[in-house]
């Protein structure tokens, strides 16, 4: 199962894109409550949103984004059947990608 959940909504001729990503977003200053060892930093560094294979958003994100990050953007226009692709890369090199069709 993908870590990215995408929802789109057509509003006043525009398309709202909302996404919820399952990710710990650790900034590396937290300690484990049992062992008291530092939890290594683990956060999403790059976020890319594509609309019909054209990149519309590139985001550089840091660990100041909350755990399980949420983002919302608004696309001008947009039609039913358009393909939205969202992908992320984190600081450990993990990545994920998810496609969504605007309904």
């Amino acid at each position: 199962m993908s870590s990215i959940k995408i929802r789109t909504k057509r509003m006043d001729g525009n398309t709202q894109i909302r996404m919820l990503i399952a990710h710990p977003m650790e900034h590396g200053r937290n300690r484990d409550t049992k062992t008291n060892a530092l939890i290594p930093a683990h956060f999403i560094q790059e976020l890319t949103v594509e609309h019909n294979k054209n990149v519309i958003i590139t985001g550089t994100t840091g660990a100041n984004i909350s755990k399980d990050p949420y983002f919302a953007f608004t696309l001008k226009g947009g039609n039913a059947g358009d393909i939205i692709t969202i992908s992320w890369v984190d600081n450990l090199g993990n990545k994920d990608i998810q496609e969504h069709i605007v309904n």
Binding site: G62, N64, I65, P69
Partner: protein, 152 residues
């Protein structure tokens, strides 16, 4: 006896005076340190990101964020702008150890709108920098945090 008493009173008055001065100066010192170090980090980040470009204050950036956040681990923020040709939106938190939260580069197909959730370590200003083809614009809002977001 009376002499002793007088001397004692004199001394105690003098001492308390000194301690007051010392206390005031140490407090001022701490404030000064906190101020300079935090703005330094912010200034450095700004310099690295925007390379000495002029950033002007603007009232055409609207930040929706709660004035007081009970839990700094998840503070919702929505940024909209009425500026034209927006190419990017950056979010910075002044007092966080790493001020930059996120920098988004927008294509012309997008409305200048972004919504997300932030971690805020302590009461601090949240600054938004909007990049347009004409230059950089900024706006900021203060957020009171009762429970820090960095220990969570």
């Amino acid at each position: 006896m009376t002499d002793n008493r007088r001397a004692f009173i004199k001394k105690s008055v003098a001492l308390s005076g000194y301690s007051l001065i010392a206390l005031a100066s140490s407090e001022a010192n701490a404030e000064w340190l906190a101020e300079t170090t935090s703005t330094d980090i912010l200034q450095q980040t700004l310099k690295r990101l925007f390379k000495d470009q002029e950033i002007t204050e603007s009232d055409q950036i609207d930040i929706q964020i709660p004035k007081t956040a009970e839990n700094g681990a998840s503070v919702p923020i929505t940024v909209t702008s009425s500026l034209n040709n927006v190419e990017g939106i950056s979010i910075l938190i002044e007092k966080n150890p790493i001020p930059l939260v996120a920098k988004f580069e927008f294509s012309p197909d997008l409305l200048p709108f972004v919504s997300t959730r932030l971690k805020i370590a302590e009461t601090s200003a949240v600054a938004i920098i909007v990049e347009t083809n004409e230059g950089f614009y900024t706006a900021s809002k203060k957020v009171m945090v009762t429970l820090g977001g960095c220990e969570l």
